[in-house]
Structure formats: C-alpha cells, structure tokens
C-alpha cells in the first residue's frame, strides 16, 4: 500500500516534469493568426491546439534525465498515462510517436482557477471542493477584527 502510494506520487511528480518540459518547447502561439486567445473561452471546453513543437520520447527522456535518474521506459509509461488522460497528443511519425501538450498551460491554469475560486458551484451548492472560507461570505472586516479581539482577550 505504502509502496503503491509512493509509486503513484512519484509518477505524479514525473507527469508534472514531463508537462513542464513539453510546455517549455517553443510556445509560438503568440501572434498565431488562427489561434484565438483563451481568455474569453469558457473553461472546460477543449482549447485550440497550440501550434507547438512535438517531442520524441528520447527528447523528453534526455531533458528529464538531466535532473534525475530515470529509465527510458518510465518516460514512455508517463507519456502513455498523460495521453490517456488527454493531457498530451500522440502524433504518429513513421515508426515512432511524437508528443505535444493537448492544451496550453494558460488554458489549464484558467480552468483550475475557475474551479478553485468557486465560480462554478455557487449555484448547485453541492460543491466539489471544501473551502476554508466560503467565497459567499461577505462579512464586514471591522466585525471580523472585533470578534478576533474578543478571542485574543479570552486566550490571554
């Protein structure tokens, strides 16, 4: 169990490293004539494919191997997992596959922040997340500080 969890955490960390590398590859999507900006697109919809250079497994492995001891097959496994999750695209190139991000970093970040800041589930109330402070709260700052002052008096 512990080993399995450790392995999952390790894979998660590798997935992040792989995506970071793929996103770092020539993000030429600024000034691309056909690619609309993602700022106006509703999150959740697939963002337009970024015109981004695709990488071979070898390239990804070489990049990751600079910082850690990692096997070529492990990189293949990680890329395969990412493809299954829809995070990267597989492009056939002769006998090999090329990989590139399916979604831009900006689009993914926007989607994550949209969820995290609670603009989604205000309506249904059945929240996917349990927040420390509900975004619906609109307490007066002065009232909050007064309540805190009372708590401080009690604690000391």
């Amino acid at each position: 169990m512990g080993v399995a969890q450790g392995r999952r955490a390790h894979l998660g960390e590798l997935e992040r490293a792989v995506m970071d590398y793929l996103w770092s590859l020539a993000p030429t999507n600024t000034n691309h004539p056909t690619a609309p900006t993602n700022s106006g697109a509703p999150p959740g919809e697939p963002a337009p494919t970024p015109p981004q250079r695709a990488a071979t497994v070898r390239e990804v492995h070489d990049a990751l191997a600079q910082a850690r001891d990692i096997a070529y097959t492990t990189v293949m496994t990680v890329l395969d997992r990412l493809a299954k999750k829809g995070a990267v695209e597989q492009i056939r190139d002769g006998r090999a596959y090329l990989y590139r991000p399916a979604v831009t970093l900006d689009a993914l970040t926007a989607e994550l922040m949209h969820d995290a800041l609670g603009t989604v589930d205000a309506e249904s109330r059945a929240s996917a997340l349990v927040r420390f402070v509900d975004t619906a709260s609109a307490d007066d700052a002065a009232a909050l500080r007064a309540a805190l002052a009372k708590l401080e008096r009690r604690e000391y």
Binding site: R16, L112, A128, L144
Partner: protein, 303 residues
C-alpha cells in the same frame, strides 16, 4: 387482528402528519436554533435523523395506504384509485431520491477527478505547507479536494500571508474534512435537496449541514493548534475573499466561526450532546416502532 395500540387504518394518517411536520416546522425550528453550534457533531446527527425520519415517514405513508388497499374490505373504484395514487407517489419519491443521489454523485466524482488531475499537473510542493499542494495565484485560498485520493490545496499567496501556526491551523482544518469524509455527509443532504428542491426545508438542512461540518473541522484544528491561530487565519483569508456569486450562506460565515472559537469548546457540553443523540435515536426508532409495527403485523397477518 389488532396487534398494536393504534388502529391500523390510522397508520397512513399519522405517517403523513409526521412527514409533513418533519419536512416543514421541525427543520425550520432547528435551523433557527442557536444551540447546534455548541454541539456540532450531535446537531449534525440530529439533522440526519430528522431528514431520514421525514423520508421514511413519507415512504411509509405511501406504502401503508397502498398495501391497505390490497387487504381492505371496501373495494370500490375511488379507493382503488386513491391507493394506486399513493403507491405511485411512494415509488416516485424513492426513484427521485435514488436518481438525484446517483447523478449528483457521478458528477461530483467526475469533477473532482478532473480537478485532481489539474492540481497534480499544476501545483508544487513546499516544505512550509507539509502535505499540501501549492498553486501559484494572487488570490488567497485554501481548500480540500475530498475523495479516496484527497488533496489539500493552498494558494501561494495564502502561504505567504499566513504565519506558521496559522498555516498549520488551516491545513489541520482541511485535513479534518478529508479524514472524516465530511463531503459524504454534505452530499447526502445535497442529494435530498436536488431531489426535492421545492419541498419542505431541504435547503435549510443542506445549509445547516455545510455549516456544521465547518465547525467540526474548526474544532479538530483548534484541538491541535489552539483557537487563536485559527481565528487569525480566518480573519486573514476572509478579508481577502471576494464575494463572488453571493449566496446568503447560513452559519458558515467566518464571523460566526470566530465568535464560536471564543466560546467554550464542545467538550464542555457532553451531557447536552448525549441528550441530542438520544433525541435523534428516538426520532427514528419511536415512529418506526409505534406506528409501523402494527401496520407491518397487519400486513403479514394478511399474507
């Protein structure tokens, strides 16, 4: 063939009355009451008992009318239609509940899985917030992504703005949510509300449950870090929060939570909590035994 203190034909009437009382006035009273914040765990159990008893009464009322038709003596068309309607009502209530629970659960799990993938790809780890994922953001926020594989998430701005003990209090609060699976408790009330949004006080029950689990998590955090760091963290993170789609959320407001931290801990109300637990048990047991038993005996005698 009477085997109980009540005539069998009274069963549907009593159960209907109970269902209406438990769906309307009782939750309205409990939602207004001030004492639940002193014993949040017991109050949450009482809400569950109240809700379960209401649903069971409604189902029992429909089922008892429907079965009385089968065993009854006066079989005319009007009675048959009435009983058929009661039977259909019971099935509809049950089907709606199950369907709402299913669709809500499915969509929540899908959204959480997607969000977890995003968090795992875009967050990083920092030893200042052990056990948590950090997202780079200007906004200050912290949340728990519940589930079998849960995540504690906090924004980089929140890590920066909170003192060490305040950060610990926030993380302990979120850890308590993840550990105790508070999401499942709230999900039950949410399913009921989405099945019957217009009926009774299902919304009050959902709001109350959401508030009570916050209090439970606060209590868990204060046991570990003390009340003061938690109170300060609440002020810091509430100050910065933008009221988005403003909903009047009841009982969960940071102000109430800070005021509550200045009150005696729930452990000082053990006797009171025990009384609430007993009341919760009674709420489910007593109607089942006194009302449903004679009817069940009558039905089984007829078979």
């Amino acid at each position: 063939m009477l085997s109980g203190p009540l005539p069998v034909t009274a069963t549907p009437l009593i159960l209907t009355t109970m269902a209406l009382a438990l769906a309307g006035p009782a939750p309205a009273w409990l939602a207004r009451a001030k004492w639940p914040r002193r014993v949040p765990r017991a109050a949450l159990v009482l809400w569950q008992a109240l809700t379960l008893a209401a649903v069971l009464s409604a189902l029992g009322a429909g089922a008892s009318v429907a079965t009385l038709a089968v065993h009854g003596d006066q079989l005319n068309l009007g009675m048959v239609l009435l009983h058929a309607a009661a039977f259909v009502f019971t099935l509809t209530v049950l089907a709606r509940l199950l369907w709402a629970a299913h669709t809500l659960g499915t969509s929540l799990r899908a959204r959480r899985r997607r969000h977890r993938q995003l968090v795992d790809l875009l967050s990083h780890i920092d030893q200042r917030a052990p056990g948590a994922r950090i997202l780079d953001a200007r906004e200050t926020f912290a949340y728990c992504l519940p589930g079998l594989s849960s995540r504690l998430v906090i924004s980089s701005s929140a890590v920066d703005v909170l003192a060490d003990d305040e950060l610990r209090a926030v993380l302990e609060h979120e850890r308590a949510h993840a550990r105790a699976r508070h999401d499942l408790v709230v999900e039950g009330f949410a399913a009921l509300h989405s099945a019957f949004p217009w009926f009774g006080r299902s919304r009050a029950a959902l709001d109350a449950a959401s508030g009570l689990v916050e209090m439970l998590a606060d209590d868990a955090a204060r046991r570990r870090t003390g009340a003061l760091p938690l109170g300060r963290a609440l002020v810091r993170l509430a100050d910065a929060t933008v009221p988005a789609g403003t909903l009047g959320s009841s009982g969960t407001s940071p102000l109430v939570r800070i005021q509550r931290l200045a009150e005696p801990a729930p452990t000082t109300h053990r006797g009171f909590a025990a009384a609430v637990y007993v009341a919760s048990m009674a709420l489910i047991m007593v109607p089942t035994l006194t009302v449903a038993t004679p009817w069940l005996a009558y039905v089984s005698a007829g078979i």
